[in-house]
Homo-oligomer: 655 residues x 2
Amino acid sequence: MSLADAVQRTAATLGKLAVRMTTKAGSGHPSSALSLSHLVTHLMYRQMRWDPTNPADPNADRLVLSEGHAVPIVYAAYAALKGAVGPAGRNGECPGVLAVADLDALRARDSVLDGHPNPAEGFPFFDAATGSLGMGLSVAAGLALGARLAGSERRIYVLIGDGESREGQIWEAADFIVDHKLTSVCAIFNANGQGQAGNVSPQQSAERLHAKLEAFGWRVLAIDGHNPEEIAAALDQAHRGDRPLAIVARTIKGWGVPALQKGNWHGKPLEEKDLAAADASLDQIVSQVGSGEADGLAPSSPPAGRRPAPAKDPDGVAWPTFAEAMEGAGLGKLLASGKAATRRAYGVALKVAGDLLPQVAVLDADVSNSTFSEVFAKAHPERFFECKIAEQNMVSVAAGLSAAGYIPFANSFAKFFSRAYDQVELASISRANIKLVGSHAGVSLAADGPSQMGLLDVAFFRAFTAVRGDDGESPLCWFFQPADAVAAYHCTRLMTRLRGMCYMRTHRPDVPLLYRPDAVFEPGGLQVLATGEDLALVASGYMVHVAQEAQRELERKRIRVALIDAYSFPIAGPRLIEALQKSGRRALVVEDNYGAGIGAAIAEIAARAGDIRVETMHCGRIPKSTRTPEEQMEYCGLSATRIADRALALLRQPA
Amino acid sequence: MSLADAVQRTAATLGKLAVRMTTKAGSGHPSSALSLSHLVTHLMYRQMRWDPTNPADPNADRLVLSEGHAVPIVYAAYAALKGAVGPAGRNGECPGVLAVADLDALRARDSVLDGHPNPAEGFPFFDAATGSLGMGLSVAAGLALGARLAGSERRIYVLIGDGESREGQIWEAADFIVDHKLTSVCAIFNANGQGQAGNVSPQQSAERLHAKLEAFGWRVLAIDGHNPEEIAAALDQAHRGDRPLAIVARTIKGWGVPALQKGNWHGKPLEEKDLAAADASLDQIVSQVGSGEADGLAPSSPPAGRRPAPAKDPDGVAWPTFAEAMEGAGLGKLLASGKAATRRAYGVALKVAGDLLPQVAVLDADVSNSTFSEVFAKAHPERFFECKIAEQNMVSVAAGLSAAGYIPFANSFAKFFSRAYDQVELASISRANIKLVGSHAGVSLAADGPSQMGLLDVAFFRAFTAVRGDDGESPLCWFFQPADAVAAYHCTRLMTRLRGMCYMRTHRPDVPLLYRPDAVFEPGGLQVLATGEDLALVASGYMVHVAQEAQRELERKRIRVALIDAYSFPIAGPRLIEALQKSGRRALVVEDNYGAGIGAAIAEIAARAGDIRVETMHCGRIPKSTRTPEEQMEYCGLSATRIADRALALLRQPA
């Protein structure tokens, strides 16, 4: 049998499985899956150099299914190829094998076959969760960067829906891949012409996609996505020259099954009673290609020689002292001045992390001279990736780099990360080991005004800290907000050691050093900067300095005020409670952002205990430009005087 | 004097002001401002049909400065033209006039001249806050849609940075504008070649932008952005034919001031001592063009006849009863079944809102058959705008529609709005009157898995509810989460009446009706569904049904449990406290999302009161696909049994 016939036969056979499994699950997207039948068959059976028993081999080619809802066709192929499933071990080996019979468990609680690609549930064929659309090309770019850094010849194929290519992130990724000449990526656009609520726009037609991709600097080939010869010929052109290849494949949504081509069939399985007709229709296709052995329809092995990311144990490296690091960065004079911005100390720490750990990689979105990731960039240019002004792509690239074994630190203003919160969440679902550092956070940015201030980041990331990871203990995200340069240095070090997502928030202004260079910081830790029996002021980051001023005002009135730096969340509840119990069972928490943040976290702990009164103060209105942080604090109701006044009011309440 | 000479002279004169004001402010972006000198001069003095005393006239042309940091050049022109400033009245008229001397107050606390465009602080020349990059073209699209709906001949000019055009949202907007043939928009790309941390990528070169825009279906003209004749000739071509015009203008960052052209000068003013040299350099340009009167360098008036958005008073229209509305939508049978999804009732309410209020417009991102905004689309197709799969653009288009006087309801899955949280925040800074409705929220979505579930939306929007708007009372956002179809109907009605941002969360599953059709709902309200002296279960949305089941389990154990539906935030604190005081001063709050949400909000209220114990339960781990909501609740630790167990544990604690 010819290769083309074999692909046709396999495509129809896998299509039957895809249709069936969605019916068994009672939900899913059989029509989208069928449109990819031939493309997935050719990629998984022929094009990709990989080993179904160890799909995560660092040399093996990878498939990113950006249009995640089409996943049943991949599950079908994987089962037919006896792919490995289950929780992966150290070298990616898995305990189980996916059988065709397992496909009927699609979307069931105990199945590794999630509704959308989800490697963390035991399907190691994928590197990252997809399903929220438009992210796959960026993930592929991150995998490709990782492969290049590690010296691996891995190639990455990405399947992207035409409707999904409306998402701007696809075009951010298209730019990034050209900028970085990531020709190991091959993007395949599935132009079936139909979305969920209607046809795709003419702006996402095969012709228009073709023109756009060329304008973005890609080589583009147009094919019939159900023609095995055209697929093979196009893929033969991939990974050549210095421009990446995009293939625009016209396909039929519901290919091979007339019932699934009616109207605009999306996201709905066939009823059980209609399965037989679908099978018959696909069987007829099989019968037309004749039988016999198929030559060459089996994956070839990955290139020899494993090329994992270089790595050292983050716990096993000795960091220089804070003073040594600052001296080493030529900042001895700044250190001696006793004042420094947290973002500057972060930059120094990042460079040290790069010195010590070959797996640390850094991304920035055109603000490296503000976030100070430029300190790393100068020392380790080969591991620094300028993403330009495209935060969504940056975060998903980081997820890809993490899947390739690196520890990516992504940097921007705290505000601009909100551009990529959907990407952050998908990275979290992927259990990506990414570190996000947002600078210029909160209202202390002052002059630039509210469009540049991180005001909702604390609420967003705090929510992640309240949820447990797979070990049932660590949070989905560790949150850090250092109050001085020493703390920023040590928190950065902690982030290299913690497995999983971390978010650190830094501030623009220079602030006095609060801590001795050898102060001890830990995840979820807190520092009691002063004790006092009447009341505790609790703050974090820049606000520790404002709270300290309020504390001094109150002390002049003979009120004994504790000052607590709550620099990390989820905060150690018992230690916090203990500190508050020594402080009159009264706390006033202040923060430089909108609500639902640190104050709420502490109120939750207190309300559970039931015998501690907590008041919260946060930015109470939309900020506007002011020339100084002090004026901004006043404008937003957060000046030291306002804090002291609120503390006095709290003390007047009955205990 | 020729028009070209006059533009040159004015550009240099305004440039002096832009440089000076940033020096006086001690921060800002003079080099970016100078690159726009000629373009802004030509637009504001010549091209735009507008009245500086009433810039917000609904017929007047508008300028959207997408690269918001370049704003000083606009402020300079506006002052020179004696533009109106201060809080706008009903018809857009303003109390004050911006004088040239006022420019020195840039970024000061009491100035209307914010660091980035910010109409809400008293600068009515702009429609929306910009400064977080890449949003302006979408805002312009919204303004253009609004103008078309109202029958206004308004034209909209957008200035976009080359570096900024890396943001995918620009390309989402480019698609949208072509789809909707919004030729009243003219996009001008400022290709000065420099970003913040370095040069812009070759992917954002003038040539590449030109090619991309053509591939996206735009007419494109390339010009020298400092050549008045080329600017005039290009703008003459705008608003013709059925394709929108884009102008790619090559410019010089720091035009006219050699000191600002050194290195990659960005975001930094000159020092006071260097002002004289900058002035001299720009004065020399002025001296070269000779003197005399400039012909035609004054804005022409807006087209005659005001064309505001049609509007009725939302408080003055009579809504049909819930039952009438359901019958009217052909859903009488569903109603009789006693079960309906909240999203379905929302769709019905949205259609009614459209029947009653001509200013209601609706947007969706290719999921109108899931969000049920399709009910509106069928009844009012001319006010329904399909945005396809591009949520960022959708939200910023909504902000533009709001600025044009409409009440836009934007729809998608709750999860996918997180794609646009930065845009949501900018809309909030703009005080946009937008309504966001996220469907398929929380873990009850079950089978589709975590990539489709809104799990962080409650934390994000709850933060907005904790901040006050300009009246010092209303929140920046009202949050609604209806537990049944009746509540969804009434909450939608409330959203049409509330001025400002609202977020409503709906769920996928059909749920039993809990409320009588005439039940009363209000912003920040709560419903006590059952009273009980031992403990209160507090929930919202889908979780009310799960909590009700837990309540029944507990009642079988003779525990008297109150059930409170906390359907809106910020919740009325005193009413909540009163209810909890009657329920043993013990509350267990349950929610179907990650933390930092409703539980934290209630804990904050309780911790302030100090004598109520609150426990919170939320989704405790990353969900995976399960086939039913019940299995998902179990998986995430939120089953009725788990809730009942936690309630029992809470009761065992000392009061």
